[in-house]
């Protein structure tokens, strides 16, 4: 038992470092990017990785790929992180309300969630995003709609579990108002579960966001964005396969890092729950 205890924090720390790295690179993009991400010379188009002056090569318009990937981290990560934060808030609100409200409200909310659940995630995101002008806002809104039902279900289940708990009865008996009850008693129990669950969705959200951009529903060109870069480099796939595969590899690596972090966090939460129950 002792060995696993000693091992766990380091696994989380490792995953956290891996997930923090792209965030730091995004913040430091102006310092690190060797060139202007939007300026390209057509004479330098589609240079292979390793060309002097262009570490990762250049795209079809001769723009430096490394600089574009670094700058792209900003909208790409925002489009993944922001919807998760919004969905955590909205999902907690809906889930707790459904669990504590009367039967009619509960049924109405749960049936609405069922309808949203009936859509495959990517398709719902596409449906919502087509309604809006392509851009970061559209991606964030579309992904919030996609992610909220899952978070709400977790919040609902967790609130339901404690609804009849003695500490809630005690608080009610001692005269706590509904608001105090939710803020002081329910949220402290539900929030960690919701946050960890939402955290485990970040990798997925980043993948979805890049996917929407790939489909042309995200940030419009020439702003660098990972998914849009995939689409821009696609024509070069059969002549310059490694160049075209670079953004794909970046998204994969970032997704692995965030999913590994989410997994270790969930593991720790489950472990904590076992020791307290």
């Amino acid at each position: 038992m002792d060995t696993t205890r000693a091992r766990r924090p380091s696994a989380t720390a490792l995953a956290a470092t891996a997930a923090l790295l792209p965030v730091l690179l995004a913040l430091a993009a102006p310092l690190l990017a060797p060139a202007d991400p939007d300026a390209g010379r057509l004479a330098d188009r589609l240079l292979d990785p390793g060309t002097p002056g262009h570490l990762l090569g250049t795209d079809g318009q001769g723009r430096d790929l490394l600089s574009r990937l670094l700058w792209a981290a900003r909208p790409s990560l925002t489009a993944g992180l922001l919807p998760v934060a919004c969905a955590a808030l909205a999902g907690a609100l809906v889930g707790i309300t459904a669990a504590l409200a009367g039967r009619a409200t509960e049924q109405a909310l749960l049936r609405t969630l069922d309808v949203l659940y009936a859509f495959p995630g990517v398709l719902l995101a596409i449906a919502v995003a087509t309604l809006l002008t392509p851009g970061l806002g559209a991606t964030v809104l579309a992904l919030t709609v996609v992610l909220t039902p899952a978070v709400a279900r977790v919040a609902f289940t967790e609130t339901r579990r404690i609804r009849t708990a003695e500490f809630l009865e005690a608080a009610t008996v001692s005269g706590a108002t509904r608001t105090t009850l939710i803020l002081r008693q329910v949220l402290p129990v539900v929030a960690p579960v919701v946050l960890v669950y939402a955290g485990s969705l970040v990798g997925l959200a980043i993948v979805y966001a890049a996917g929407l951009s790939f489909l042309g529903l995200g940030v419009p060109p020439p702003t660098p964005e990972w998914g849009a870069m995939l689409d821009e480099l696609r024509p070069a796939l059969f002549t310059h396969p490694w160049l075209a595969a670079t953004p794909a590899l970046v998204i994969l690596a970032v997704s692995v890092a965030f999913n590994a972090l989410g997994e270790t966090l969930r593991g720790r939460l489950a472990e904590g729950a076992e020791t307290t129950r």
């Binding site: 069922d114 495959p120 998914g227």
Partner: protein
């Protein structure tokens, strides 16, 4: 059993109605006025009114929804603006191609997920357990479009081993062998995420059963490892069924990327082309078809679940 199925079917009706309402809304609420788009901004008011009346835009939204739903139920999903053909005529052949691809991917998901999950459950703390665990996490995190591009770069362009577009060679003999060769890369790209999830769920379920009294009892009666595993795998199968069904539904959404990148002439590719051309009736029809299939698959999974586990029915 019949009552259970009927109840589930009835429950699916409001869900499907909600789905259709959302799909309808995505087109009805889309910014931009179709009349202006058709006649131009300077058109006289009476011409605008006449067109609006002819295509039914002067009626209230709920009436338009019911009208649209009635047509959709009879198979009339409108006319594609880019192809100038009925949407249903475009969707049906594409559906067949998508089912071929998802079928192949689903076979990979079940075989790979069970194998990876079983290996992990047998020695969870050994190197094989850790390795299969890491492999599952990697698979779960691998976006279909990334995998598709990487597979193409390695197997189709660099090594020239496998074809990376279409369903058959243009000048080949064709046939099943050719189709299978064309299926390898797209099916793998589509399968990885669901395969990883299936492996994780199967591993967890099988580990629980292997640590239970049932397994101890079997071992105490002198059964060999293979026999114990066979019995335990049977008891862990409901979890596999549930997650497998969910993954089948998940495969339906992943095909948008996989089919686009491998030029597979299915629903996903059709949807991508429709999005690029802003062909809203086709987008609407495609989303409706896939979402309906999604609900249908979930229903089938519930039915299968009830068939093998009587506790679910009550």
């Amino acid at each position: 059993m019949t009552r259970f199925l009927l109840r589930r079917l009835l429950l699916a009706v409001p869900t499907l109605l909600g789905v259709s309402a959302v799909v309808f809304a995505t087109v009805a609420l889309v910014p931009g006025d179709p009349v202006t788009a058709f006649l131009g901004p300077g058109a006289p008011a009476d011409a605008r009114a006449a067109l609006a009346e002819r295509i039914g835009l002067d009626r209230p939204l709920p009436v338009r929804y019911l009208d649209w739903l009635g047509h959709a139920l009879s198979g009339d999903l409108g006319t594609s603006t880019s192809a100038q053909r009925p949407v249903a005529d475009l969707l049906l052949p594409a559906l067949g191609q998508t089912l071929t691809l998802t079928g192949a991917a689903f076979a990979l998901v079940l075989a790979g997920g069970t194998a990876l999950g079983t290996l992990g459950a047998l020695r969870p703390r050994g190197w094989s357990g850790r390795l299969t665990g890491a492999a599952s996490t990697l698979a779960v995190s691998a976006p279909q479009y990334s995998v598709a591009l990487l597979l193409t770069a390695v197997f189709a362009v660099h090594w020239r081993l496998l074809p990376a577009s279409g369903t058959h060679d243009a000048f080949g003999a064709g046939g099943t062998g050719d189709l299978l060769r064309h299926l390898v890369l797209p099916a793998t790209a589509a399968a990885l995420v669901p395969l990883g999830l299936t492996a994780k769920v199967h591993r967890a379920a099988l580990s629980t059963v292997l640590a239970s009294d049932l397994a101890d009892g079997l071992r105490a009666r002198g059964l060999g490892r293979a026999a114990v595993l066979r019995h335990c795998a049977h008891n862990a199968s409901p979890a596999l069924l549930t997650i497998g069904g969910l993954q089948l539904a998940y495969l339906l959404e992943g095909v948008v990327f996989v089919e686009t990148l491998f030029a597979w002439p299915g629903l996903g590719r059709l949807l991508y082309d429709a999005l690029t051309a802003r062909d809203l009736p086709l987008v609407q029809g495609g989303v409706l078809l896939v979402a309906t299939a999604f609900v249908g698959v979930n229903l089938l999974v519930d039915a299968a679940h009830a068939a093998i586990d009587p506790r679910v029915r009550s």
